[in-house]
Symmetry: C2
Subunit: 410 residues, 2 copies
Amino acid sequence: MPELFTVVTPQEAWRRLQPHLYPITRVVTVRTEDGLDRVLYEDVVAPSDLPAFARSSMDGYAVRAEDTYGASESLPAYLTVVGEVAMGREAGISLSMGEAVLIHTGGMLPANSDAVVMVENTRCLDAGTLEVYRPVARGENVIPVGDDMAEGDVVMEGGSLLQPQGIGGLLGLGITEVAVYDRVKVALISTGDELVPPEQEPALGQIRNTNAYSLSGLATRIGAVPIRLGIVKDDYESLRRAAEEGRRVADLVVMSAGSSVSTRDMTAGVIGSLGEPGVLVHGVSIKPGKPTILAYVDGVPFFGLPGNPASAMLTFELFVTPAIYTLGGCKRIPGPCQVQARLRRNIPSASGREDYAPVRIEEENGELQADPIFGKSNLLSTLIRADGLGIVPLDRSGLAQGEFVVVRLF
Amino acid sequence: MPELFTVVTPQEAWRRLQPHLYPITRVVTVRTEDGLDRVLYEDVVAPSDLPAFARSSMDGYAVRAEDTYGASESLPAYLTVVGEVAMGREAGISLSMGEAVLIHTGGMLPANSDAVVMVENTRCLDAGTLEVYRPVARGENVIPVGDDMAEGDVVMEGGSLLQPQGIGGLLGLGITEVAVYDRVKVALISTGDELVPPEQEPALGQIRNTNAYSLSGLATRIGAVPIRLGIVKDDYESLRRAAEEGRRVADLVVMSAGSSVSTRDMTAGVIGSLGEPGVLVHGVSIKPGKPTILAYVDGVPFFGLPGNPASAMLTFELFVTPAIYTLGGCKRIPGPCQVQARLRRNIPSASGREDYAPVRIEEENGELQADPIFGKSNLLSTLIRADGLGIVPLDRSGLAQGEFVVVRLF
């Protein structure tokens, strides 16, 4: 019973699935301050200028630039200090020729002033007289009206992730609510006659279901809502019922498809039977994770992931994570955090497949070093000890000690 | 009024603060499945072996290895198939010499078997007779008892972050609850006579408070609880009252310290007056972010961050983020996600300070390219458009087009 699949590269696998993926249509309004890492549904336009008034970017004196032209250490300009701009207040003063006003960083420029002399380039002779040692150009040390955001500007595009600086930017404009895509619902189905729930004591021959929880963690981290549909027996009718329920309750269905060839083939059969176009990929040239199924069935993406914990997590991150981002409306999918590290030992592999080997990372003399963790690469304990997965490219039959390896950090 | 500080490098600044930081003592128990990204309070020890029985790692036949010795394509070994191991069941069979049992990946090895022959290396002659073409060694294709985790092993150490694989690992052992450090409470105080809350229409001279919300986002992302204490006027007594409240309600206090020299000096004065040892650092050789204050006052870390949004966010990430992790019990602080990218334009800088310049990242021909965003580096709109901050090291007076720059991704 050899497994019936044609292996494709991970790039080709994604290329087959990607054109079928569209953002969900559910939109919700959230308070901007609660919108961290949500995806904006539509372009956000600045309702007004930010700043709404010209501000000083330095501590110093607001002046008319022309009054300082030619000023130098040996031949300072002399100005008359006619007041101080209080923070948070309208300047309330209009400058005449030869006048200056004390101003603080962020203060509003008085009428008729057009530049700020830094305090370091001045000296007060007495309460009313200021020496200026350097000339300023018009606009120098001034943040003009609308310099950060101008009224009518698209501040953030629909499909952007709302990061902390975005929250600040929107609130700076007084935008206290935003429309965002709803969270993507991910159904997680665990299959296997040997599985019992974590809280149950397994009998001999049984093991506890862990994949549903590890994969829930991966989904949660990127803002999706995992819906665990429990453990399903390895028979066609049970699988099919679970798959149907999955597409009814979620936007995307992940089946952790058991570890034997026969159950994986059954999973492919069930998914294929649900609708069109059905199974798009069955087999990817990666290790671990070869027997991965990518499918699209009547508007719902389906994933059949291998049952081994390491395979399930890796294939989730390679294929399900970008699918969740796409369904969630995200136009620029954040890549994984990858670093380069120098290998402390060889990683053997085989040409023609992409290998992911657990490594531990250490910094030594300012350079990252990667120690492959061998022997038990598919076990949870290995993943727990590792900091990430070192990638051996498709066209390499291993990487040698001393070479750089790209490591996908957990 | 030149600012009264002695600038130190970011490394030296952290070196001064770090010895004062200890984990908080509040511990809570959470369901393991809800423990994503929490920090374990104590070592977790495996209560039993995982797996609890020897399992097959392949689809094939459980055999006594010695019965296959010498087998080859031309001279196969002949074994008698005496049954099948059902998934999730005790094998219920004991092998005698010359016998084999059909087994699936994850199935429990029958008594007296010690290896599994992959199905690819066999052929069934009839229902009861199996040809084996390759010998297997003892233990081959078998996951022995306790191979993933052995009873008594420390599975995860106290101070570890609970990642998705850790959740899977603990649940695999039936550990459904864990003790974790409580979330770190971060008080955020915004100071400035010019600030109004985001929902309020600012008068001329006023701007909306944004830092408290951007910094809340940064705190939330790493699992801390931001406590916004609102806007405080720039006078000594108000600042002092707010600082006192901060240390009463939180584990760590961040004061976004206004943008003018005088308010920053006042912040340092207030923090210094609260207790010992007081201000440890006032001034860091970074841009933006030079006038940063790090302090430790009677058991509570205090941070005075510059009021400019870009400076506030950067200095939060450089100093407050690792402090939060340390207070939160985390022994191995996750570094920022940094990538190397080729510069498309020069980044000017000055030797003797670490410069952080907003850049946009693009992939081109498999290589990351960094486009510096010039002109408005301290504005929120620039941070929103950027993908991260390119770092010009302390000892460089800029980086040239074509050079690699390390980019700290948002």
